[in-house]
C-alpha cells in the first residue's frame, strides 16, 4: 500500500515538473515589452526681474536662455529658465 502512495507521489512530481517546463517555455517566448513611461516636457518661463513666472508645454525650438517676449507686469524680457520633464510612474509594472 505504501509503495502505491510513493508511486503516486512520483507521478505527481513528474507532472508538476512537466507543467513547469511548459510554463517556462511559454513565458520565455513572449518578450517583455518595454512600456514607455508617460511624460510631459515643461518649459518654465521667468521674467529677468523675477516678478513673473509661468509654465507651459515644451515647443519645438525651445531652449534654456531663449527670450520669450515681454513680461506682462514690468515689460522686461521673459526668458526660458528651465526645461524639465514630468515622468508619470506606472503603479503596476510587470517585471519577471
Amino acid at each position: 500500500m505504501s509503495s502505491d502512495y510513493l508511486t503516486l507521489l512520483f507521478i505527481a512530481i513528474m507532472i508538476v515538473l512537466f507543467i513547469q517546463l511548459i510554463v517556462n517555455y511559454v513565458s520565455s517566448r513572449k518578450q517583455s515589452v518595454e512600456v514607455d513611461v508617460p511624460r510631459k516636457i515643461i518649459s518654465k518661463i521667468r521674467c529677468v526681474h523675477g516678478d513673473y513666472e509661468t509654465e507651459r508645454e515644451y515647443h519645438e525650438g525651445d531652449f534654456v536662455g531663449k527670450i520669450e517676449g515681454a513680461c506682462p507686469k514690468c515689460g522686461a524680457e521673459l526668458i526660458i529658465d528651465t526645461i524639465y520633464t514630468k515622468y508619470f510612474r506606472q503603479t503596476t509594472q510587470s517585471r519577471k
Binding site: T7, I41, I83, Y84, K86
Partner: protein, 366 residues
C-alpha cells in the same frame, strides 16, 4: 488482478526513473539541453538589441532626411563602422595623454568635417545634434556587434559557459541600452537631458551675459558676484556638444596669467543604487568624466596656479543622465547653483578671479 496492475505501474515508473537517471548521469544530454536553452535565450535578447539599433538608426535617418540629405543610408553606413580610435601605446607612458588627446581630437575633427560636407546647409547647433545622435547609434551598433560576436563564438565552439554568461548578462544590457535609443529623440529635438545639469548651472550663473568662444564649441563668460570676477566655462549651446572644457580652462588660466584663486567644476555623477537622484554634494578634484585629456588639463591648471579645485556633483543614474531632464534634477540644478554661490562667497575674497566649469552636454541650454 488489482495487485498485478499496481505492480505493473510500479515497474514502469521505476524503469522510467532508471532510464532518466542514466540519461542524466551517463550522457551529456542535460548539457545539450542547457546549451540549447541558453542559446535560445541569447538569440531572443540579441534580436531585441538589434531592433533597438534599428530603431535608433531609423530615428536618425528620418531626421537627416528632413535636413535634406538625399541618401541617408550612405551617411549612416559611413558613420557607424568608421571613426574608431586606436589606443595609444601604453608601455611607453611618456606624453601618452597628449597622444590620446590628439587622437581623440583629430578623430572628432575628421567626423565633424565629413558631416558638414554631407550636410552643408545646416547650422552648427543642428550639426552638433546630428553628430551626437549619430555617435549614440554607432555606439549601440558596436555593442550589438560585440555581443553577437560572443554569441556566434559560443555556438561555434559549443561553449555553453559563454552562452550562459551572455544569457545572464543580456537582460541587464537590454535595460541599460533602451534609454539611449529614447535619448536620440530628445537630442534631435534639443531637449535638455540629465547630463545637461552642469551647463544648466553655468547658465544660471551667467544668464544671457555675452559669451566668448575661447576654444572650439566652448565658451567663457565673465560675471561679477559680490566683487569676485567669476569666469564661467561651458560648452557652446544650445546644440548638443560637450565642448572642450579642459582646453578652455588651460587657455583661460594662461590669459589670466595664473591669477586664479579657485576652480569649481560642476558635473552630473553616477549615483550608487540606493542613493537619491538629485543629491548635490561637494568634494575636491575635477568633476569631469572624459577619457582623460580634458580632466588632466583642469588638474594641471589648478596645480600650476596653486588654485583650489572644487567638485560639485549632482547624482543621478545612467538612465537619468541620458533621458530628458527630470523634475528632481532640475531642482538639483538650483541647489547646485546655490552651492557654487556659497563656495564663492565663503571661500574666496572680493577681487579674486574664480573659474566655474559647467561640465556636460549642453543640449537645449544656451
Amino acid at each position: 488482478m488489482e495487485l498485478s496492475n499496481s505492480s505493473l505501474v510500479d515497474k514502469i515508473v521505476s524503469l522510467i526513473f532508471l532510464v532518466l537517471l542514466s540519461l542524466y548521469f551517463l550522457t551529456d544530454i542535460p548539457q545539450r539541453l542547457q546549451f540549447y536553452r541558453y542559446s535560445r535565450a541569447v538569440a531572443a535578447r540579441l534580436s531585441v538589441i538589434e531592433s533597438l539599433v534599428n530603431e535608433g538608426m531609423n530615428k536618425v535617418r528620418n531626421y537627416i532626411v528632413k535636413l535634406g540629405v538625399e541618401n541617408p543610408d550612405n551617411v549612416l553606413k559611413n558613420v557607424v563602422d568608421n571613426y574608431f580610435v586606436i589606443n595609444p601605446v601604453d608601455i611607453e607612458p611618456i606624453d601618452i595623454i597628449k597622444r590620446l588627446g590628439h587622437l581623440i581630437e583629430s578623430n572628432e575633427f575628421k567626423f565633424k568635417a565629413d558631416l558638414s560636407r554631407l550636410l552643408p546647409k545646416v547650422t552648427r547647433d543642428t550639426l552638433n545634434n546630428v553628430a551626437v545622435s549619430l555617435s549614440i547609434v554607432s555606439a549601440l551598433y558596436i555593442i550589438y556587434k560585440v555581443l553577437k560576436h560572443y554569441y556566434l563564438l559560443g555556438k561555434k565552439y559549443e561553449n555553453w559557459i559563454l552562452l550562459m554568461q551572455l544569457s545572464v548578462v543580456l537582460p541587464q544590457i537590454v535595460k541599460q541600452l533602451t534609454p539611449y535609443v529614447k535619448a536620440i529623440d530628445d537630442i534631435i529635438r534639443g531637449v535638455p537631458i540629465g547630463d545637461s545639469v552642469g551647463p544648466l548651472v553655468a547658465y544660471k550663473i551667467i544668464k544671457l551675459a555675452p559669451r566668448m568662444e575661447i576654444v572650439e564649441d566652448t565658451i567663457v563668460s565673465r560675471v561679477e558676484i559680490e566683487g569676485r570676477n567669476v569666469y564661467v566655462v561651458k560648452a557652446r549651446g544650445p546644440g548638443a556638444t560637450v565642448g572642450k572644457p579642459g582646453k578652455a580652462v588651460a587657455k583661460l588660466v594662461e590669459d589670466l596669467q595664473c591669477n586664479v584663486s579657485r576652480i569649481i567644476t560642476v558635473d552630473a555623477a553616477l549615483k550608487l543604487e540606493g542613493e537619491t537622484t538629485g543629491e548635490v554634494t561637494e568634494g575636491t578634484g575635477a568633476a569631469i568624466g572624459d577619457p582623460g585629456p580634458e580632466k588632466i588639463e583642469i588638474e594641471r591648471a589648478a596645480v600650476k596656479c596653486n588654485a583650489s579645485l572644487d567638485a560639485v556633483i549632482i547624482k543621478m543614474s545612467d538612465e537619468d543622465a541620458i533621458r530628458s531632464m527630470s523634475t528632481e534634477i532640475a531642482e538639483a540644478a538650483e541647489k547646485a547653483y546655490q552651492k557654487v554661490l556659497e563656495i564663492i562667497r565663503t571661500k574666496t575674497r572680493p577681487g579674486d578671479n574664480v573659474i566655474v566649469v559647467g561640465v556636460g552636454n549642453t543640449v537645449g541650454v544656451y
